[in-house]
């Protein structure tokens, strides 16, 4: 096999062929470190790994080829080759090791730097996390497309035709981006955009690196190239010049990650680098009826200027058979939902596995998930959701840990309210209800609102129950212990093996002051929250949230440590404490967390928040496509909603203007907006219908959840296709 570009609809067998090729290479004793497999998401990597493990016979003895996302590869290589490029890329001083920022820490530093200028964005009425997310989005898009940060304002301004105040905002975005970039360069910090920028500008054309990829990547496999940004295509173009074989695949329709920088046109240029373009026409995973429905519906959005999607009656008739009985067209949102739940119950009763059912909506709000969970629980059906990352602070377990952190650090002078403490106690102490927790909290905070004090007066315990005295006392003592500067109790301190003093220097000649917040929480978990009388040890999902928060706090703290930030390096306005003090870093973390800034608003990849096999999937339609899910039955909710058609409001960034395809200097017009929305809608419909094996249920209500009457283009298109065929 030479260089092959494979294109076709979802379900045509492209990924299967890619995996077969991987198995073939491994079976031919090709050195594993000479194979590169690029995937778009972790699930694909796992599919490749599973396929390799299932190979039988002598092929089973094999290597472990690199199976990675492009972003993972870029980050690893920037880190590995950093000494080669640090000086040219402008890092000062260049000899420091790079410190990678995740979305959370990038948002934190940007937030500190942008704080004095926040008033300048007031007119946009954006929440702070959304403002930060959009500045980072502009930086990410610049890096992925290969233009400088100094082009952001010009590109956006040239395309803008509204009121002139927006031009000032664009300039402010660019200034914020530039100051964040300068800060990163001065402290060897690399956010996502700088990793990609350094990779594309300095690493990709460094002779040593070119020799490295020439020697290493002799066989290249890349799945879903259309879901990747132009910089990934640049990398592939370079590798294709020297590799022995390659197999690239493209899903058509695809490009659903456009908001994360995916560029279908750029991907398609790779076809010219290949010896052969193979088109697979047939989709094996969707029924002819759902495919026909997709074609008929998407046609309504493809040729809007002329005959507006004339649907041949034969297609309409076939398309109509793809539609399940409509789960009620009621006046209210709640009625629509009960209709959907009823249908799901029926399907499951008739033998459908819950995981074969997906409920899709333009947005998935908490209330939708809650209602679905509660209603389906009655019949024993579980629900799982896959949504973009949620703010950590939304979770009751996180709030509980934050409340205890405040009470464990009276020097922060952060008051704790009675409802906060009551909720924290109710969440953590076994069998303690909110009413009793409120009584305890009230008495405790009257004694001190900054720390938990012993409550030895028996009257309170007689009221709430003596059995709660002991967990309260453990918590009170645990908080006091966890925050001390004393050496933390180490469970294995008496374990065998002691450090040799022969050659070793002391570990930390100048220990930093205070206990790091992550260790404070770990200590609290170890000594208190995981003990009997506390309920975390019984709720594994709660433990997972604890773990996630502790990891987040730890990576936040480690950035300060590894970048060796000192008082003089603290970004933005001085917080009044030294950043090399653990207490101050913890305090900053809590402040940022409770401002909802520590939430992955922009994440090139994100993980499902709960994974439950054998459960009905509830997901936003785009998330469903991006994760390449497939189902036997799909429920499309709120088909009247404009949300199916509209782009998310992002006044400070733009997926089309900040792309490589955009011609700078052009205005973004109503016609452009209409054209791109139509095209996205068409792709969305085809993308969904290609992933549905049996039937689609369309659900709607006259009034949306917010009480509005809507009649979006999706509902109109459906009426046109299905309505006409009904009349036929």
């Amino acid at each position: 096999m030479a260089r092959v570009y494979l294109v076709g609809p979802p379900g045509a067998g492209k990924t299967t062929r890619l995996i077969e090729r991987l198995v073939e290479l491994v079976g031919a004793n090709v050195r594993p470190d000479r194979i590169l497999v690029l995937v778009t998401q972790q699930a694909q990597a796992e599919a490749c790994q599973v396929a390799l493990t299932q190979v039988k016979g002598s092929f089973r003895a094999r290597g472990d080829p690199a199976i990675t996302t492009f972003y993972g590869l870029a980050q690893r290589h920037v880190s590995l080759f950093f000494p080669l490029i640090a000086q040219r890329a402008g890092f000062t001083p260049p000899q420091r090791e790079p410190v990678m920022l995740n979305v959370e820490t990038a948002q934190y530093f940007l937030d500190r730097l942008i704080e004095p200028h926040l008033a300048g964005f007031d007119d946009l009425k954006l929440s702070r996390p959304r403002l930060l997310g959009q500045v980072l989005d502009c930086m990410n898009k610049a890096a992925e497309c290969g233009f400088g940060l100094d082009e952001i304002a010009t590109r956006l301004s040239d395309a803008w035709s509204g009121e002139s105040q927006r031009l000032v905002s664009y300039q402010r975005v660019q200034d914020a981006a530039a100051s964040f970039r300068r800060y990163c360069l001065d402290h060897s910090l690399l956010d996502f955009s700088l990793q990609i920028d350094v990779f594309s500008r300095y690493l990709l054309n460094a002779p040593t690196y070119q020799d490295y990829i020439t020697a290493h990547y002799r066989h290249v496999l890349a799945d879903n190239v259309e879901e990747n940004p132009p910089i990934m295509h640049d990398f592939l173009s370079q590798v294709l010049q020297t590799c022995d074989s390659c197999l690239l695949t493209e899903d058509n329709p695809g490009g659903f990650r456009i908001f994360l920088g995916a560029d279908v046109d750029s991907a398609r240029r790779l076809r010219t680098r290949c010896d052969e373009v193979v088109t697979l026409g047939e989709c094996h995973t969707a029924s002819p009826a759902t495919i026909a429905l997709g074609q008929a519906l998407s046609a309504q959005f493809e040729d809007f200027a002329t005959e507006a999607g004339q649907v041949p009656s034969s297609v309409s008739t076939l398309a109509r058979t793809a539609l399940g009985e409509q789960p009620g067209n009621t006046k209210y949102w709640a009625g629509m939902l009960s209709g959907v739940v009823e249908h799901i119950n029926e399907l499951v009763r008739d033998g459908t596995a819950p995981q074969d059912i997906a409920v899709l909506a333009p947005y998935v709000e908490d209330i939708l998930v809650f209602e679905m969970r509660e209603s389906l629980r009655r019949t024993g059906i579980r629900v799982r959701t896959v949504r973009p990352s949620r703010p950590l602070y939304d979770h009751p377990i996180v709030r509980m840990l934050v409340t205890f952190a405040r009470l464990g650090h009276p020097e922060w002078e952060q008051r704790v309210s009675v409802p906060d403490l009551a909720r924290a106690l109710a969440v953590s102490v076994e069998n303690l209800d909110l009413a009793r927790a409120q009584l305890i909290a009230d008495v405790a905070l009257r004694a001190s609102s900054r720390q938990l004090v012993p409550l030895d007066n028996p009257s309170i315990w007689q009221r709430v129950g003596m059995r709660f005295y002991s967990p309260y006392a453990s918590l009170q003592q645990g908080l006091a212990r966890a925050a001390t500067d004393d050496p933390l109790h180490t469970p294995s301190s008496s374990a065998p093996g002691t450090p040799s003093s022969r050659h070793l220097p002391p570990d930390d000649p100048e220990p930093k002051s205070g206990v790091p917040l992550d260790l404070f929480w770990q200590q609290l978990f170890t000594e208190v929250l995981s003990q009997p009388q506390f309920q975390l040890d019984q709720e594994l999902e709660a433990v997972l949230v604890c773990d996630k928060l502790i990891k987040s706090a730890r990576s936040f703290r480690e950035v300060f440590e590894r970048a060796q930030l000192t008082v003089a390096d603290w970004p933005g306005p001085h917080p009044g404490a030294s950043p090399d003090s653990m207490g101050a870093i913890g305090q900053e973390y809590i402040k940022t967390l409770s401002a909802n800034i520590l939430a992955a608003q922009y994440a090139p990849e994100h993980e499902p928040d709960v994974v439950e096999e054998d459960a009905v999937l509830v997901a936003p339609a785009y998330t469903y496509l991006i994760n390449n899910f497939r189902s036997r039955y799909q429920f499309w909710l709120e088909i009247n909603s404009l949300g199916w058609y509209e782009r998310v409001y992002q006044p400070l960034t733009h997926p089309y203007v900040l792309s490589r395809q955009w011609q700078t200097g052009h205005k973004w017009t109503e016609a452009d907006e209409h054209r791109t929305r139509q095209a996205m809608m068409s792709r969305l419909i085809r993308g969904l219908t290609y992933r549905c094996a049996d039937r689609i249920f369309l659900a709607s209500s006259q009034l949306s959840i917010s009480g509005q009457e809507e009649s979006g283009p999706l509902a109109r298109a459906i009426f046109k296709v299905v309505g006409r065929s009904t009349q036929d």
């Binding site: 089973r60 290597g63 180490t490 374990a495 040799s500 570990d507 773990d547 590894r562």
Partner: protein, 280 residues
């Protein structure tokens, strides 16, 4: 257990120490965010920094083999400077010429798979007397057990040499390396006076390891429920275990380990790196 599960020296160490720990960690994948226990008596923060230095050292050494210079004054602290200085004074002439850093291989053991990630594979497939040497960088802090005998008994040694002899064919012109062609070399960063420990391998060793690994992997993968993974019997294992508060016990009944179990009682800084060895 997931059919695609790949065993590694770490999961096997856990299984040998306590089947329940193996279950909680690798089957149930249970997060349990306690203060990380550590076997060398450091404070938790110092232990984290020590682990980080080990990871950095591995990256610097990988750079060395790729010809990427690490600036001399970039060591974050004295210990790292010392390790790096010891490394730069090493003599590598007696290793085979081809050097492949950070190499992962997977070998079958019956119906199961065994994974190993070598810090460095030095091999020489082009010569008549081809040989392959796995090199492992160790930042062990112990003054005991530095004998070749102790290293030879480590689970890591047994797993690595077995995997190389079974799955090394792509590095030997398509032919598997005979066990006699394989060996393992540990570099001890903290012991410049005795920097190397060499472990040879033989067909008899290979056969013995295959039988032992097969039995171990069969047992480790045969459990259907949590109850099938019994608690270990050694008190000291619980004292250094993350799940101690979950199991709600501070020790166990002292008894000897089985004759085919290998002790691996000293801390290995590679753990962090190899545990996350599948790089997505």
């Amino acid at each position: 257990m997931d059919a695609s599960f790949k065993f590694s020296q770490h999961s096997l160490n856990d299984y040998v120490a306590c089947p329940r720990r193996f279950y909680l960690h690798y089957v149930a994948k249970l997060a349990w965010p306690v203060v990380e226990p550590n076997p060398i008596g450091l404070q938790p923060l110092d232990y984290q920094r020590y682990l980080w230095r080990g990871t950095e050292l591995h990256r610097w050494i990988e750079r060395y083999w790729l010809g990427i210079p690490t600036p001399p004054d970039s060591a974050p602290d004295e210990e790292m400077r010392l390790w790096w200085d010891h490394f730069l004074h090493l003599e590598f002439n007696n290793l085979p010429a081809q050097r492949i850093p950070e190499l992962g291989l997977v070998a079958p053991v019956g119906d199961h798979l065994l994974y190993a990630r070598f810090d460095l594979l030095a091999c020489d497939a082009s010569t008549q007397a081809s040989r392959a040497v796995i090199v492992d960088w160790k930042t062990l802090r112990t003054s005991n057990h530095l004998s070749a005998h102790w290293f030879a008994r480590r689970i890591q040694t047994r797993v690595y040499l077995y995997v190389l002899a079974t799955a090394g064919a792509p590095y030997n012109g398509g032919q598997p390396f005979a066990p006699e062609q394989c060996s393992m070399r540990y570099w001890l960063a903290n012991y410049p006076d005795q920097p190397w420990v060499d472990i040879p391998y033989s067909t008899a060793d290979y056969e013995r390891d295959r039988t032992w690994l097969l039995g171990l992997l069969e047992r480790a993968s045969s459990g259907q429920t949590e109850e099938d993974y019994a608690r270990g019997s050694e008190q000291r294992q619980c004292m250094r275990c993350t799940y101690q508060t979950l199991c709600n016990r501070s020790g166990g009944i002292a008894c000897s380990t089985g004759p085919d179990a290998f002790e691996d009682e000293y801390f290995d800084v590679d753990s962090a790196a190899e545990a996350a060895s599948i790089d997505y």
